[in-house]
Amino acid sequence: MRRGKFIRKGLVAAIVGSIYVFLLAPIIVVAGASFDGGKSVAGRAFLQFPPSNLTFYWYEQIQPRLWDALGVSVAVAMVAAIVGTLIGVPAALGIVRGNLPGKTLIATLLRAPLQIPFIVIGIAFLQTYYFFADFLGFGLQGTFAGLALGHVFVATPYVVGSVGATLQRFDVRLEEAALSLGADRWTTFRRITLPIIMPGIYAGGLFAFMVSFGDVPISLFLASAKYTTLPLEIFHGMEFDFDAAVLAISTVVLFGSLVVLYFIQRLVGLDVLLRTGGNG
């Protein structure tokens, strides 16, 4: 009996361990291979992992094109997160606090963008821009605004979801106390409501940022030669000729993501992030 239990525990540990290896290995391999000094072979051949000799050679080889794309990606993701927050927070407040008929339907429709495959969203926005271009003589296709609008569309539901979840746990009596002690409604919102829902806003905005930052299928249709995002550059780089500097800039992004995660963990704790993940 005891031995059976021991074997079973070992088996479970082995399964769980190998799943963790599967999940983390690609990330470690990309970072590791980017420091490899080995020769770059044309086509699909790759640098070695583990690296044979450590260099920063590939980091010096990162072309301005890739840095530009990184800049566009960060800018688009920031617009998506900020505009998504500006739309998502009042939407969540209205849904949770308000008493509009058809509240569930409204909430479902606000979350609808998450149900639509991203590639369909990309096509839909492109078709829409073309449609208006026919009428007005100019369209948003290929512009920064056009690219960002598509990202705002998918970013907003994350903010609605996470702020909504925070609001539902909110103790309304705190607001009532402030109001009865003479604070006006705006002061109550600013001093009581906002600080309490702030973790939800951070988490939602952060999720919105990451979803936008990592997107390929929407940008695929909305980006242009002038405004292209880094994931799209990496994607095209993989399809055509492979440049080892892509591994280097990917590693830069990896470290950036880790730093962001660390600050979020300090700021609101990982559990907020976990909850948002569950809701999204």
């Binding site: 079973r8 769980v16 799943i19 599967f22 999940l23 690609p26 990330i27 990309v30 291979a33 699909r44 051949a45 790759f46 992992f49 739309i87 009042p90 939407a91 407040l93 209205g94 849904i95 606090r97 308000g98 008493n99 409204i106 429709l109 609808a112 149900q115 639509i116 495959p117 991203f118 590639i119 369909v120 969203i121 096509i123 839909a124 926005f125 492109l126 078709q127 829409t128 073309y130 449609f131 569309f153 907003t156 990451m210 990592g214 390929v216 299928p217 695929l220 249709f221 994931p231 993989m238 399809e239 892509v246 992004v253 990896l254 880790l258 995660l261 990982l270 976990l274 993940g277 569950g278």
Partner: protein, 285 residues
């Protein structure tokens, strides 16, 4: 007071609904124009694109392949994610549980293209896995994983696993441990305890998680395109080629509408099945 919140809700609601309704309506409408190729469309609304999509086996096969791959990933994903989520939820040391969860969050947080890049380095024909297996003498020829359906399944698994673990973890965590102890004390074997207590209680979470993951897989483009090496033609990959390579905008709209409707239909069907299933269980027990 109530009117107040309605006012707060109205502007963001109108903006969101306009974007949702406008873009969805316009692209579905575009799918009904005759596709003249090279970016040109006819002026009349016709159903010819839909006739093509449902009679040409190329498009039909893409949809079937899409459903097949997504189902495989959902099943394999559940089988892999459940033990991980269970172990973390039942861990004695809170600190270790937190570390394991953090590792999942880190891996989910990383941009999918970068993870796929790593997967290609590992699973490619001259990648780390093949080199190791060859060196160990376990295989004579490199395994072909990237560039066929296995590669796509591996990529999609990586895409959804972390999410699935977090989802299942949050459900299993809410099942009181005392229920398990009670079952064990009354003489149930661990297997029986799991099948009769833990699994049924976690079923709503399992189904919700499976549905969301199925949706993600149906629409997944990056993993399918990069790890399929252009040879695994799931519907999202076909849509991209139709629009970007063939410049068939109307046909792209048609195919996107078919993808969207099939995702919605499958979701409705699963929810309906689940409700029936629940009722049936009530009658039996």
């Amino acid at each position: 007071m109530r009117a107040n919140w309605t006012l707060v809700l109205l502007p963001p609601m109108l903006f969101s609904f306009l974007l949702l309704g406008g873009t969805q309506f316009l692209f579905i409408r575009a799918g009904f124009y005759e596709d003249l190729g090279i970016g040109l469309m006819g002026n009349e609304l016709v159903v010819s694109n839909y006739v093509t999509a449902f009679t040409d086996s190329f498009y039909l096969d893409a949809l079937i392949l899409n459903i097949k791959v997504s189902s495989i990933v959902v099943i394999c994903g559940l089988l892999c994610a459940y033990p991980v989520a269970y172990v973390i939820a039942r861990m004695r040391s809170q600190q270790w549980a937190m570390i394991l969860l953090a590792a999942i969050v880190v891996s989910s947080f990383v941009t999918i293209v970068i993870k796929v890049l790593g997967l290609i380095i590992i699973f490619g024909s001259d990648g780390a896995l093949n080199q190791t297996l060859l060196a160990l003498g376990l295989i004579d020829e490199p395994l072909q994983i990237v560039g066929n359906i296995y590669g796509v399944v591996v990529g999609l698994m990586h895409y959804v696993l972390g999410f699935m673990v977090l989802m299942l973890f949050s459900v299993i965590q809410t099942i009181p441990r005392s229920l398990e102890e009670a079952a064990l004390i009354h003489g149930a074997s661990s297997y029986r305890m799991f099948m009769r207590v833990v699994f049924p209680l976690s079923l709503p979470g399992v189904v919700t998680g499976a549905l969301i993951v199925f949706n993600l897989c149906m629409g997944a483009f990056v993993s399918a395109a990069m790890l399929g090496g252009g040879k695994v033609l799931t519907l999202p990959v076909v849509i991209e080629r139709t629009v970007v390579l063939d410049l068939e905008y109307a046909m792209g709209g048609t195919l996107s509408a078919i993808l969207l409707v099939s995702v919605i239909l499958i979701n409705i069907l699963s929810v309906w099945l689940l409700n029936r299933f629940r009722k049936a269980r009530l009658v039996i027990t």
